[in-house]
Each structure stands twice: as structure tokens, then as C-alpha cells.
Subunit: 344 residues, 3 copies
Amino acid sequence: MIKTNAGRFFEDYTVGETIQHAVPRTVSGGERALYHALYPARHALYSSDEFARASGLPASPLDDLAAFHVVFGKTVPDVSLNALANLGYAEGRFLKPVYTGDTLRTTSQVIGLKQNSNGKSGVVWVHSKGFNQHDDVVIDYKRWVMVRKQNLDAAAPETVIPDLAAVIDPADLAIPEGLNFSSYDFALAGEAHRAADYAIGEKINHVDGVTIEEAEHMIATRLWQNTAKVHFDTSARPDGTRLIYGGHVISMARALSFNGLANAQMIAGINAGAHANPCLSGDTIRAWSEVLDKAETSAKGVTAIRLRLVATKGDSADMDLRNADGKYCPDVLLDLDYWALMPS
Amino acid sequence: MIKTNAGRFFEDYTVGETIQHAVPRTVSGGERALYHALYPARHALYSSDEFARASGLPASPLDDLAAFHVVFGKTVPDVSLNALANLGYAEGRFLKPVYTGDTLRTTSQVIGLKQNSNGKSGVVWVHSKGFNQHDDVVIDYKRWVMVRKQNLDAAAPETVIPDLAAVIDPADLAIPEGLNFSSYDFALAGEAHRAADYAIGEKINHVDGVTIEEAEHMIATRLWQNTAKVHFDTSARPDGTRLIYGGHVISMARALSFNGLANAQMIAGINAGAHANPCLSGDTIRAWSEVLDKAETSAKGVTAIRLRLVATKGDSADMDLRNADGKYCPDVLLDLDYWALMPS
Amino acid sequence: MIKTNAGRFFEDYTVGETIQHAVPRTVSGGERALYHALYPARHALYSSDEFARASGLPASPLDDLAAFHVVFGKTVPDVSLNALANLGYAEGRFLKPVYTGDTLRTTSQVIGLKQNSNGKSGVVWVHSKGFNQHDDVVIDYKRWVMVRKQNLDAAAPETVIPDLAAVIDPADLAIPEGLNFSSYDFALAGEAHRAADYAIGEKINHVDGVTIEEAEHMIATRLWQNTAKVHFDTSARPDGTRLIYGGHVISMARALSFNGLANAQMIAGINAGAHANPCLSGDTIRAWSEVLDKAETSAKGVTAIRLRLVATKGDSADMDLRNADGKYCPDVLLDLDYWALMPS
């Protein structure tokens, strides 16, 4: 009997089934410190217990994206080990902050399947949920991937394409219990700009850049227990490069966005995300943002701000997303559409 | 007076003496997180407090090999700073799990000496014990190293060669107090195979590979406070390479063995170990295992499984250990014989 | 409105103003573990809770230099983002140990200004204080940097040059409450030499070397939330190299100094510091020390020892600091003058 996990192929998924992903993970101050060592993360709510308490939380949570990477990493052995492409994200909601000491596990329900016309692969939609040790859902999102078929003779499944919202209604965003920005210290947070100071359509070039090393992205990706071969093994891709986990680029760009969006403290939702081009060691990642929308929330002094976060590998000064033909510019690595919580 | 430690030479050891090694170490969630960031470690008992509690332990312990590296690292300045070769391990037993907050220290008793016929070096056998802050022995092992003489005129000591067991009797393995696999969750652990599903003689190719970077092995080796120059200083070896700490290869191979041995949760004993060939940055480490034996233990639902863990730097698909002449194949880095605890 | 921080220029500083630096930071076991993973730190008081308790402290503190880097890192966006050179340090005092769970923030008062004769830049002196969550000052130091003018037409400020002590009077050093070396365990600390064994004028070559990698210094520098572009972005310097944060060299040299100064446990003061030459990835850092002075303290069995710590990038065997012309030798990276606390 074969003991190792070869991953699932397209024909192995059934709409409606729920996969319990393995290897729950307890997070500690170690994960927090490593997150700050790997990314230039400076949002004060995630850096200081005191700042978090002044904002109504019991302590500084684990960075939202660190929690996301842990929850996501659990899904890789069952969802994307044989993926040809990570196609998109939708309806990502951050329902509860994750604190040190919490133990996370993930389940995914298959919510859509569509075989490609070539018969060699298909698209799998999953609805993944990350739970803490109290069985509270902390993160909830949909993603879809293109997965190879192993048995090309397997019959195509009935096509089911889930109905996904292009944008999360801000009324559906979860505001952490107790969150309150009424005594927010803008000097300690690092910038004076509140939500009212941002105009819809405004673009912000985040200026700073980080040149990426192999050791860093592997350390990060392993920390999230993401096992995809292409990130670690130079023999896994024809050109001998190690593809950098898309989440590494998301975290790097989000951290760089502090410079101009220091008060976009918490990520509340992910509307959409595309890894536009591959990122490799040696690339210098920069970022720019565009304000897409703003909405009031139920919490005192807290506005939801909808942002497009774009990571590039060249000079991002022009802040162009797409070429004239509508395709992503070749230096664009990431196009992420998310909701953050900011002092009003 | 020379203030720096030049290390001990062969003529500095006396059979029977006990060396108190310096620099006790308190471990925290930081060491746990770094272990998971440096190796693709996924054994659930070491990843989740909840899984560990369901198995009868108070919390998730520090990975057994992380504890081993800390205990071992303490011995380096006194035992292997002038070592020409790390020859072997025997009778390694993991007596108590190490938890965050524990403080570890190590002593070594010299249990054997044999000068080489060339008069320039000799073999030193030591019995090392790692203690926690309660003075409980947590790890106990023998190792032998070839050490240079500094004073070639020093008289050869009486030859004493300790009598070491080739294999630890499974009845002598310590089972952590309370360990109980009767409610073991195979889905959360990641694989369905219990001890009964493994046949003696069965070989498992663990499939995955990791290409090693300089920064990673130095971060790891420093974390264990291992001070051997050859791992850090490009001027310490004639060819300008940094030799990778053998323990880094052990941890990498053990972590890779999750894929096929996800339920070989705890390491209970090390019967033997050989670093067959040097490992350098740029090598892609792979691993395979062979089931050597199985034995019942006193704990409910817990079987001891004896495994050979082999790390290679090439494609390990053929799982060959030795050439026709009995020598290790050139791509074999590690040959480790150990006992693990697995659901029966 | 520009949302990003372009940093301050010389004309933006006023003598007497106090800058509240942003992004307070809570430290945990994660920062402790990373410090030990990034530097070969082995001073027992910072490695073991048990050793620290035997020395009268409640637990093992965060390494003094780790605390310094966190406090210093906070000042970078306001003080040295447009710095042309980091010119010096003086009157650095470590007033309280920093423990895991503490939250640090920093303020800087401008205490001196002097425009350069070229009219294009000037020197800014700041008095920086790091506070913990109880508003106790934990670290207090002066530093001065050369900062560019942005508006060359801005009038030169009145020249104010602060009066800085060349050496901190040992009577002004803070001894941590309860510190007591009367039951100090020299075997566990790693060396037998007490303060009485060191002669003023004695030089110690610390022997060991570490070849530096890009990933390591970036991980360290980010961990301290130091945002200076030159450390991260290969496009920030004309030659495409990443300049290594001077504090990385300080920590590396201090850690290497364990070998010969294992009992110089705590840093109590920094008298002066100069980054003599730039350090780049691939350099092999070595260190030597010179005993400059010794003084008794108010604590039982605790001597203050004044040390010059020199980091080099070549072979440091000759322990030369300056050439015949009085300039630093080209292989000297760091010249640091500090007070440490040692068993008498």
C-alpha cells in the first residue's frame, strides 16, 4: 500500500463533500515575532499589546494574514498539491482575531467543479473555514484552483459554478467584539490620516522596496506548513527556480503599505485576489494601493475602507495595473481587493 | 592568561570524568516556531496543543529533535570543537518531553578512549545527559567522535571501549506519562496508517525535497547554540564551503518523513546514526525510510516502530543505502536508526 | 495630500522638540529565540531563566542589544531615514532589563544642530529614551547623524552642540534591582575568568568568525522594525548592494565576544560607538576586545568592566584598530566602547 500522499486530482472531488484538513497548529509569540522578522509589518495594533488594549481588544492579535496563511496552509495537501494554477479568492472574511495560544484547524467544502474543455484538468471551487480551539470560525473564504486530472478517462462531473459576490457587502464584515477607535493614538500608530482623509479613487505609492531571498520565503512558507513542492525544491520546476508562495507576496505588499496606510489596521475581508505574475528570489517587491470604497461600520469610530493592493517587481511609480489590452502589466505580481478597518 | 576556549584535545580526556557543559537554555514558543519555520515539520502532536492534550500530554512538546539539538549543542565546545569526525550515536533515549518554559543543561561523562595508531588523534566516547530545571534527565545518549591530539608527545591513555547496545530493547524505551492513543484522530494527524499497517522490511519514499540555503542552516545551528566553526565561517574549511550541521539533515529528513509516516509521532530512542556524506548549501535533501521492527509498549494503543531514516541529496527513488562494496552510496547523507511511537 | 512618510530633513528639526516615535512593540519569547538564531549569543543570563534567577533577576531578560535595537528601530523613520551617516553614540545607559511581555516605545528630544559648511546637510543630535509599558525608561542614549537638507534655501539654525561625556561615570550606571553574583556558577556560565582576572590594557581575540548572508541581516533588521531602505532594497544604493544595519554588526561582535568574555554578562552603558566601515553580505565578521577600565559597583560581587569591542571583516589576529595615520584600518567595521557587568 502506498503510504505517501500524492494529493488529490480533479476526478477526486465531489460537490458537497467536506474535507477535514490535517495538522492543527497552535500559534505563539514565536509566530508573531517571525511574521515581523519576515515582513516589514508595522501596524501598531499587531505590534503592541498596549495599543491593542487601547483599541478594545484583549491583546495584540496575530497578524490577520499570518492567521490566513496558517488556515490556508492546511488546505494545500488536499486542494492544491496538484494545482496548475491558483485562480482566485472571494468572500474572504476575518471573523475573529487570532491570539497567541490559539489552535487553528481548517475544513474545506467543495462548492464547484468544472472540467476544462481539454479534458486534462478542471477548476475546483472550495469554501474553506479556519476554526480556533473553541470551534469558532476565525476565517472563512472561497478559492478556486485549476487541478490536473490523473485519470484522463474519468467522466467529467456535472458542472457547478458557485455564485460568488464580487465584493463583500460591508454590512457583512465582522467587527471584532469591543473594537473601538475613539481613543486612537495617531502618533503611536505612525500616521495622522483617518478614513475621512482618503478619497475614493486616490492612489498611494508606498515607496519602499524589499529584495527577496530564497531563505526568507522558504522560512515563511514552511512556518505556515504549506507543503507545495514548487516553493522548496529546485528540481520541481523545469527552470530550476523556486516559485515564491503567493501569500508571501501578499504579506510583503501589505506590510509595505504601512507607509501611507498605517491606520488601515485590521483586514476585515478579501473581495478578490489574483497572482498576476510569478515572483522569484531576487525580485524587489514594491506596492501601491488604490482606495476603492468606504463604508461606516457598527463600531464606534471605525470605518471600513476598501483597498486595491498591488505588488510589483519593478518600479511602481506609474501605478499602472493593466496594459492597453486589459492584461496585467508584466511587473504586476499581485492584485488584491480587500476591506480594512480604519479610524473614521 | 589565554581567555578563549580552544576546545579540548584527545589528551585532555580521562575515562570516568564528568564535564558540566555551559550555557543552560530556556526554550519558548520562539524555538517551537523557528523549528517549524526551518523544517517542514508537521507531526500533529508537536504542532497542536489540542492534539497533544487528546493524546494525554499537558501541551504540545518541543519537537524531540529540537530538544536533542539543544542538549547536543551544549556539548560541542567541550567535546567536538576539535573533532575530526562525528563517528556515531548509540543508546539515545528520550525520557521526558520538553515543554516551553523548560530550561535545559547537559553533562557528559567520558566512557571510552582509544588512541589511533597514527598517534595524532583518538576516539572519545561520551555519555551525555540533558536535564530540565527539575534535574530530570530528558535525553540520554552516547556518541563518539575522533578528536585531534594537540600534544603529540602525550602518552596514549589506556584503551577503554564501552559496550554499547546495537539496538535499544523496546522495553527500555520511556513512554511519556499519560500518553494514550486510544482516541487518536487520524484525519487530524494527516494519514490513516497505524502501526499494524506497516510491514517489517517495508520501504517508504517520502517524495518531497528541500533545497538548502546557507542562511537557514546557520540560523538553525545557532539556535541550538552549536559553536562549531565549520558551520559558520567560510575560512574554516580549505574549500571555503560551510559544512551543514548533521543535526540539520536529521531534522530535515525527519520532517520530510511526515509524508508516509505522519503517525510516527514521537521519537523514543536513537539506536544508531551515521553522517554518511557531507551536506552543503544548494543540496536538495530527500528522505526514505525502512521499517526495521515493531514492538508493543506499556501504553494503551501505542506501538514502538523501529525505523531507518535515510537522507539523500539526489533522487532517492531507488532507495539504495550502500554500494556493492558495502560503502554508503555517494548521495546518502544520513543513516539514522530510531524508535518512534505510533498508534497501534 | 501625500500620505507617505518621506522622513525628516535637516531643516525640519528644532532644538528642544520631542518626537514621539511610532509603533510600540511587545516582545515575546519569539524575539528572544530569533536573537539567538541570528547571533551566536551564549551569555548565560540571557539564555537561562534559572541562571537569571540565581543572579537575582525574576527571569532571563531580552538581550540588552535586542532591546536597544527595538528602541533604536523606532527612531529610524523620524531621525535617520534621510541620514547620510550615523556619526556616533554617547551616554547610552541600560536602566532596566526588558522582559518578554514588555511593550517598548521611544521618544527622541533634539539636543543639538549644526549645519555643515556646504549648506547641503547638517548634524542632528538626539537624546532618545525607550520606555516600557509602565513608562519606566529602560534605555537612554544620545546619537548624532548627518542629515540631508531638502530645501537648500532654508536658513541655518543656531548651532547648538551638546556637551556629551566621553565616558559614563561608572557611579551613574544602573545596576538592575536585585542583581547579585555572589552565587555565580562559572561552570554554567562557560568560563572561569572573573573581573579580577582581566588586566586593563589586555586584548582578547575572540577567535570565531561568521560569514554573513543577506537573508539573516534583513530578518534581523526587520525584526527591530528598522525601515531604512539601504538594508533591504538593492536599488537604493548605486552599487546594488544592501548595506548591513550597523546594529547587526554590534550584535554579532558582542555574541562572538562570549569566547573570552563569557562573564561580561550585562551591558550597562555605551560610551561611544563608530561604524568604521560598511559591512556587506559575504563578509566574515570576527571580533576582538580590549579592557579599558574596571570599577566596583553598589551590587554584591558585581564589577563594571569597560571594554572596547572591535568587529573586523578580515583576520583580526593582529588586533590593530587604526593605521599610522590615525584612521581606522580598512578591515575594522565597528569600534564600540561599553560598560559590562561581571562577577568581581
